[in-house]
Symmetry: C2
Subunit: 333 residues, 2 copies
DNA sequence: CTGAAAGCGCTTACAG
DNA sequence: CTGAAAGCGCTTACAG
């Protein structure tokens, strides 16, 4: 039934069907009715293709075609509920709209991000979505040079349309919740600590601004030492907290569930006082709610962010002013 | 500097560099030293490529080449720590070994799985890894017809090499832990309930076998009604538990963190008796440990599973007998 | 209703 | 040290 070592091509099929390669191609790519090819031939070809396990060579097909229909995405991680959801929903929505999604994961490594972007452009993506990229403008510039459209998601860039969460507002809401719960549960009014993220990135800056402004309004001064934005990794968050042995009430604003994993490790090895801590986390994880003392989490609205992204793909805006998407607060207990 | 609408090709570069397209191609794909092209020309070409934002057209390149170096993977979900880790580590390991990884996510939908497999074959993958596929043998058969190698990961198939966890042994260990803790904490000896998964799939069957056998050894009979393997989804797990209102001690073996999310919802709406429940979960999530009553989780050894997978890619085995990888038990409290 | 032919952008023997 | 030429597997105007 099958060829041994080489893949079946339209020429093989043409020979078997006693038709021309053109006709076979047309049957297989669905244009046969337009070309007025007889149903009989079409059915013969499709049956043969099935029997031979034929599948089109996308390489050859794309090379000849005008459009690739491929949309690419680079994402820092899959092993994270927020980014995992983005990648998963992106693929589903892309397929539903007739695009072919290709996603790749770049470990929050600037060099790998750029390499992956280049690779996706080599794959002839029509549009490249950079999610949480450390240097989105470098990627946008390269895309522009190859006349590939680019869009930033999660972290904004100056040189391409961006869709991001309203980090400032959500950080304010979360900060207020933590403060309120510290006061109510512990009779303590702050200042809170801020753990995780990178000061240099837009989201951390916006969240920090919300974090500080709410406390300022309540006349709480936040000392420099309380800002521990040492990076997006469990290790770094745990390290930043290592010397902190609370001897009284405290409250932590945790920037991302990635950092929360480090916070959890730190929390678990505390010999005492763990019940005097209140946490809030910017990012949602369905199991995060069970961390003792966790009073709420910010859930970014992935579905709506992606909907806006696809709107931009279909209909490029003239401005690159970031589109802000509201977040949801999830509270516990 | 850049072309407006069309992408730069080696012909554009050749014109600019006043060299032949062959020479440009050779410079760009790294074979120029072998071809004894002058360093001067090589440097001129590379500089131009840089200036023009050139990137090779992979489609054209692959069409001409003998090997694609692409390895494909289909995975049920990204938004899950186990599968997210598999996808993420697969990409990293593939890159490290000089392959080009393409991963796509198929929502545990048999039809989409097959479509995605076909798509990846169209992309000329050299090898396709089916992770947790519902019908791996159908995929293997199609791969074979296209002379593409296939490997099953997580769930085994008959027609291709498979790398899976030692589900039976790990389920025994987890069952023993839950039973021990029920007895110690609650003075209660079972029988336990089994929630989540699909009776038809190999992993659920193996885990259930371990679950039953341990209890049998302790002379505990498990009633049919205690086996609630209604699928891999939070909703289905929550639904299966809906009519269960424990009025005394109970213990649950939760099959997958996906099901655990449904268990958590159910747990949260219990009006009473929640502290009389002990849980164990087959699958690891760093935040799962905080579910009250969760006594332990099974962590599948993703790194070692993937290492074995890449060994198979490099060196195809003659037998398709599944390779079992031991799991780790993580205990809490 | 159908086929011959050109060409997508590369790579690589082959021939200097 | 370098170029002309063939060809990878398709698609699509063009010409019957």
């Amino acid at each position: 039934m099958e060829k041994d070592s080489k893949r079946t091509t339209i020429y093989d099929l043409a020979k078997l069907a006693e038709a021309s390669p053109s006709a076979v191609s047309s049957v297989l790519n669905g244009t046969w009715e337009k070309r007025r090819i007889s149903r009989k031939l079409a059915e013969r070809v499709m049956k043969l293709a099935d029997e031979q396990g034929y599948s089109v060579n996308i390489q050859a097909s794309l090379l000849r075609r005008e459009r690739s229909n491929i949309v690419g995405m680079i994402v820092p991680k899959y092993d994270n509920r927020y980014f995992g959801r983005i990648a998963e929903q992106f693929e589903a929505m892309a397929r539903a709209k007739g695009y072919f999604p290709v996603v790749t994961c770049t470990q929050r490594d600037a060099k790998l991000e750029f390499e992956a972007a280049k690779e996706l452009i080599s794959f002839q993506v029509e549009c490249l979505i950079s999610v949480g990229a450390t240097d989105p403008d470098k990627i946008s510039a390269f895309c522009a040079a190859s006349s590939v459209r680019s869009i930033n998601l999660d972290l904004p860039g100056k040189d391409a349309p961006s869709v991001i969460s309203d980090n400032y507002s959500a950080a304010r809401v979360l900060t207020e919740l933590i403060l309120d719960r510290c006061e109510k549960d512990l009779g303590w009014i702050g200042p809170l600590r801020f753990v995780g993220g990178r000061l240099a990135d837009h989201n951390t800056a916006a969240r920090l601004e919300g974090f500080i402004s709410v406390q300022k309004e309540r006349s709480i001064a936040v000392p420099k030492s309380h800002i521990m934005a040492t990076g997006y990794s469990a290790e770094k968050a745990a390290d930043a907290l290592a010397e902190f042995n609370p001897d009284g009430p405290s409250g932590l604003f945790v920037n991302s569930t990635i950092s929360l994993e480090g916070v959890v490790r730190w929390h678990n090895q505390l010999s005492q006082g763990a019940d005097q801590i209140r946490y809030g986390c910017f990012d949602w994880d369905p199991f995060g709610s069970f961390l003792p003392g966790n009073v709420g989490m910010i859930e970014q609205d992935v579905t709506s962010m992606l909907a806006k992204t696809f709107k931009i793909i279909a209909n490029p805006p003239s401005s690159t002013k970031p589109i802000l998407v509201p977040c949801k607060l999830r509270t516990f207990h």
